[in-house]
Symmetry: D3
């Protein structure tokens, strides 16, 4: 694919501009505004000294996530879920994915009887909000855990490795990396991939929107995801190295 | 893997006994009780002459799904979702998956302004309820559409190809096909795969429960899924050939 | 009334074919699929070692019931109550009736601090779902209590006598027993009667759908109910005598 | 039974003092405060020029009821249903009963495409709130319909006959009429009976709280109900004769 | 303003007829039916030996309020909030105001670990329901606390001073006291004022419905409120002096 | 009051630093991030070509508001309202206030049959979120209306004047302007004042948290509010003059 065939002019294996702004708000133990191009998600990590009922007395902690979109993060205003009386299926699906992904890099014994809640709120949407949320939530998690380790004198770091996520898809017949809204709403196949910094897969969620995808297409998509996530992990690391 | 290491004694690439009982209840246009071993799901297809608001006047139809579990389908009683006041995140995630999967084999123009609702209710659970639901819902859908074609004299068959689903996973280090509950609750990786009868992928949803999975493990799992789904498609075809 | 005037051709005092299949699913302590003709209800009894808050520490147990209909148990699809966000008035009315009826044959002191929940889910509806549910739930309750007695070495059997239920009504001017849907939707008076095996009344719920009913009609209906319930109690006993 | 054995000292076949105050509030088309002893229920009838969706264009109307209790109508404060987020099972059961009972005396063709809503709100509870509600709602309905007939020049009176209700029960082994709270909370059997002014039964709802009741007890209860309802119908008539 | 320009013919600084009927219902510790002209609100005070979770073990109590309107308290029937599934914004706003107002005259240490709930239910509405509710709830509160002091032998009276409320507004350019519905629905500015018997302000909630109000108009309104509340406090005192 | 007695060191009549950033997000017709010190609220204005049912066909529009807080906008994490199943009383009270305030500066005939929704989402909270929301929503409203006027060629500007809001209160006995969280949580009296640019009052909501406030204190508070709002209106004007 010549790079000009993507609406954004990006090469097929090119991420959007990634921005990671730490300490974006001041109350949360971790607070990160992440940008994947025009997509902007505020990810906060909150530490609480409690565990869900089913973990009481077991000496281990929990990591969970909640996801929301401001009503006008999108092109047309969506009804506020709090006003509608509950979270919809898409929201639940996404926040369950974020929670599972981040738990994959946490040693819950080392965390102790605490809950870390990752709130991912989309300020502006342009495709890829869930992958941006996972990638940003990881940075917020690390900030929160570092604070906790200092404060509580933990013996072991509960964060084990890194986690990042990216979408890949087949747009006009060509596998591409990190779909924006213009691509996402017109692609044949859309796949969200969550990986760790060791190249292991944590989640793969692929959906054929138009025609079913072949095994070789799947292989190409996974290859793009591996490349993109390596770059995202590097961006996370760079952001975390700033004081 | 020696076959005795699976709790059920199955070979690693062996499905459970698959049973498909059509016309299980008499009111629905399609009604199928499907068994994947001890997992039993009642799948009904209901045809209604209406479309959702966003499709009015567009000359095409819709296919949607709802999923439920009877409270004592499982080992310990779960609270009834109707009594709790709404469907949980897991339920929503599953019924969205079933709906997307079945829409992948329906020509919505050929269907015309109608809705087909696939209700998948788990009578007894032993792992793999969502894959059994998709596989059974396809048979119910075909029965309903055949009835509709006779009744309404449709020009084109709205069902295009076949769809089936199976779970694969890594249990005690070995990739296995069609996990039952004993395996599912102890496996490292769990992947649900939905494919069509042409070998195309419709959905791939893989989750690392324990450690992240490598690319070669993913390849092995996809291979198992391809084998299993070919057998499931054959079982669907055999069931549909009975009058 | 000549037998041909009932849509089914039954005599006015004739029950539909009654089928009682025990151990229908494998997880519940009691699990019964009951059929009153084409009406099929799955009744499970679940035993839990807890009591509702208002009974804590009183040394007695509780019996409660929940009722549901699969969306396509009926001729036209009904909205799923879990999706609608709660149970409707009819559902609540029926499950309260089932609960009261079954509590009438349980010695709650003998049960001890346990809850037995009777889940009655209608797989296929053709009139009389609540009376089938009560009649089947009794059998599931007995199976669950027998298991409990063995397991926990109870000193006294908490089940005292038997309970069964049937509907009676006035169809085209004639009192008839065990209405099916064709009769139920066109009758003048509809009465649900719950009795024990000693001929005592536990619940009587009669409703004039068309014109008010006279005292002599009420007497005839109660007589039919007494006959029908004696036969149902015999069918319960026969089913329970099988190993 | 000697009259002194009822907590109130009433004879076994004696109603409490019945008071019916019409035009209690000024906005509703019909507004009645009814007292059965210390039980006080405000019944309003509201006429609206609309019908429920399923009746549109059929030329007939609808009568429905809603029931509520003020939180401190009872001895201990109950949670407000609006605050709890919905109506409970008991409330739904009662308002469905009131609605069915009043529809039994309305010619819905004569009413035309209108809805009459009977709101029955318990100001003070001392047993028998649902029977007081039905008896009072009838008077409110007549007032509303008379106003409507004048205003809209209806050709036919939509109210056909009269409807009243009373509870009967077995208290300390003796059948008694019109149970107050002291009796209701300690009785063996409780039956609510709704009848018309021609002596026909509209609803019979009997529940054995303690032991099951025998056929002869049922006959005695029905006899008491017939006597009590005749007196209630007379009280309704007397109240309606006042200008 | 000449008195005839108010729809009711009242002088601009004239309250409606105030009626306060204590012991209106018999179960509540305090029960008052208050009338501000045709507005009638039933205010009950319920004492419970519990505190909300956040006050446990602190040795102090809580005062809270709930507000409701009977569906036909108003000119056209409103949907019942319990049936609609929750309290609306207006209801919550009003009950929060009532709660804050009454807490202003209660010494929560002296009350001890108890909750007093003030239920204010509008039987008939003609403007000013929230101010009538506050004024009546105070009387119910005093009755309840007096009973509690006798029963529990409290050392200190938890009620400190008196609280009353009135609305003021600008109707056709003239500041007026105690708006009825005819004025309220056509006024330019509407202000609810809650004061204590020492002339201190507890709440001031003014809203410009039409044009914004000037500082001198605000001053005139506050002056009217001071006059009206002095009269309401006197009416409360007179009512409480009756045995 | 010497300036050092406020926790922030501000003079008693000094606002916090006010920042107004227009075009903060790109989808909404108006999008403003407003800061009152550390309080940061994102205010978007969305224009839709529809009106609420009660305004259909009347040729006028509507302005409404919704308010939310991100879960970790505050010092301790609050439960997400969408997850809890609905908006709480405080949220409803605030969004009703914002809506009324902004409607006060809109000519709804000039707007035509359109709805403008003002979404005010608190990104970071440090007291005064509702006054910041109103002040920022006005700027977003002007941006949205200016765009609308250009796009739709409106004849008349629907925005009439300006609206801003500020809190005032009595902190440690001294009237102060624009309370931050440290003051707000410890003050005796808290008043929110909404005014227009002509010095007229739109809303005054004062609450005595500790002791009731005197008339002279009220006068001092209103004076502070007038000064503060004049400065806020100037800040709005300055922000709007930037292209």
């Amino acid at each position: 694919m010549s790079s000009q065939s993507r609406p954004s002019g990006r090469a097929s294996d090119q991420l959007r501009t990634i921005t990671i702004e730490r300490h974006y708000t001041r109350h949360a133990e971790g607070s990160v505004l992440i940008g994947f191009g025009d997509t902007r998600v505020l990810c906060t990590a909150s530490v609480e000294d409690r565990v869900p009922p089913w973990l009481r007395g077991k000496g281990e902690g929990w990591v969970t996530a909640e996801y929301g979109m401001l009503p006008r993060a999108t092109n047309t205003r969506m009804q506020r879920e709090a006003a509608r009386g509950g979270q919809g299926g898409r929201t639940m699906e996404i926040q369950r994915l974020i929670g599972r992904s981040l738990r994959a890099c946490v040693d819950r014994q080392a965390l102790g009887e605490r809950v870390i809640t990752l709130d991912c709120d989309v300020i502006q949407a342009d495709g890829g909000t869930r992958t941006a949320a996972i990638t940003g939530a990881y940075v917020a998690l690390v900030d929160a855990v570092n604070l906790l380790m200092k404060r509580e004198n933990l013996r072991r770091n509960p964060v084990v490795g890194a986690v990042a996520a990216v979408s890949v898809g087949i747009y006009q017949g060509v596998p591409v990396l990190d779909l924006d809204y213009a691509e996402d709403s017109n692609c044949d196949t859309d796949m969200n991939v969550v990986m760790n910094d060791g190249g292991g897969f944590i989640e793969v969620q692929g959906t054929a929107e138009g025609h079913a995808f072949r095994r070789d297409e799947m292989d190409a998509l996974l290859g793009l995801a591996e490349k993109g996530i390596a770059e995202l992990v590097a961006a996370q690391r760079a952001a975390l190295e700033l004081s």
